[in-house]
């Protein structure tokens, strides 16, 4: 299954988040959420354990509410495909502080490794660009990951989209909290918002 020159997902995510500063990070359900948890729990981590297809829109809602903060959505190819229309919605809104990263292993890893559309036909970078996200690119090296991590901090030049082809190895799960109220209340608290 493994192809040459594919990046390792945990290294990619820990590289993206090493100097995250005040960024809010949304993880799509499945392995992306485990990757973010593996990089270190954080008050500003928004872990998803469901709502497949909703990660980008949750990121957009945060980005519009907090235009001075970097907002980073990290999700998988299957989750992105289910919410593919949200790229069109982001392209229309053009939030300058939003970054979308797809970890593309070309399979549904949580459900047995069935092939996703990106394995054969779909070019997510092309989709994002044609939806109006002009800064859309494929990243293939760890050096470019480091450069992109710095770019994510720039809240004046987004939205941006990156697809990163990763190997499809199933790694040990690193489980974040599954309590949505805890997660959102913690983020709100970090931003200075109290309970009702």
């Amino acid at each position: 299954m493994s192809k040459a020159n594919l990046l390792e997902r945990r290294s990619v995510v820990s590289g993206l988040l090493a100097e995250r500063k005040d960024a809010i990070v949304v993880g799509g359900l499945g392995a992306s959420t485990y990757d973010i948890a593996a990089a270190g729990d954080h008050d500003r981590n928004f872990y998803l354990w469901g709502a497949m297809g909703g990660a980008v829109m949750i990121g957009l809602g945060i980005a519009l509410a907090q235009p001075e903060l970097p907002v980073v959505v990290i999700t998988g190819d299957g989750e992105m495909l289910m919410g593919i229309g949200s790229l069109a919605t982001v392209g229309l809104q053009k939030p300058r502080n939003l970054t979308i990263v797809v970890l593309d292993n070309e399979v549904y890893g949580e459900t047995g490794g069935q092939a996703s559309h990106t394995a054969a036909t779909v070019d997510l970078v092309g989709v994002a660009r044609s939806c109006g996200i002009a800064d859309s690119s494929a990243i293939a090296t760890m050096a470019d990951i480091e450069a992109f991590a710095r770019l994510m901090q720039d809240v004046s030049s987004g939205p941006r989209f990156a697809s990163i082809k990763i190997d499809s190895a199933n790694l040990e799960r690193v489980l974040s909290s599954r309590d949505g109220q805890f997660t959102v209340t913690r983020i709100r608290g970090a931003l200075g918002f109290g309970p009702i």
Partner: protein, 181 residues
């Protein structure tokens, strides 16, 4: 083709203005929508309001997720859609229970009260049931002079008590869509 929308423009109703004033008073900032003729006057007001961000969607479930993100980021929102869009939201409505966030949606009804198009009837008939099965409280307004108080009550319980709420705006209120060749 668009007789209902044209009629709305010629005879601007007062109830969309009532809704707009309530949304402003509750400091609603993000307004995701999939267009419906019944919401056209309100959408125009939102697009012209500097305090509100109108967010056109490709499908209604996007709006549920957007409002969850808005709440995490400290803003309130409201989702505008037609009854046929409610079915598109079902799995994403889980978020209202998972996050217990102040979810409010205003739904213009089709498939009732003199409907011409049979394709609108199945989803229109199940709209209230779908919401209730999903844990969303349902209020309904059928007459222009009750829209304000119903939306006021819905906004109050959604934003003050984090009780997810849908307001169904009856087709009787809006008028059945007129199809002409």
């Amino acid at each position: 083709m668009h007789a209902r929308a044209d009629a709305l423009k010629e005879n601007a109703a007062s109830w969309p203005e009532d809704i707009f004033a309530i949304l402003q008073r509750f400091d609603v900032r993000q307004v995701p929508y999939v267009p419906d003729a019944g919401h056209s006057q309100l959408i125009e007001r939102v697009l012209g309001a500097s305090s509100m961000r109108a967010v056109p969607l490709t499908t209604e479930e996007e709006g549920v997720a957007l409002l969850a993100g808005a709440w995490a980021g400290g803003q309130r929102g409201v989702l505008l859609m037609q009854s046929s869009g409610v079915g598109n939201c079902v799995n994403m409505l889980s978020l209202t229970q998972i996050f217990r966030f102040p979810f409010l949606t205003l739904v213009t009804m089709r498939g009732e009260w003199g409907e011409f198009n049979p394709w609108q009837v199945p989803m229109g008939s199940s709209t209230q049931g779908v919401f209730e099965l999903s844990g969303i409280k349902v209020l309904r307004a059928s007459h222009p002079d009750e829209v304000g108080e119903v939306v006021e009550a819905a906004a109050g319980q959604a934003y003050n008590a984090c009780t997810p709420t849908a307001v169904l705006l009856s087709q009787r209120l809006i008028g059945a869509k007129v199809f002409t060749k």
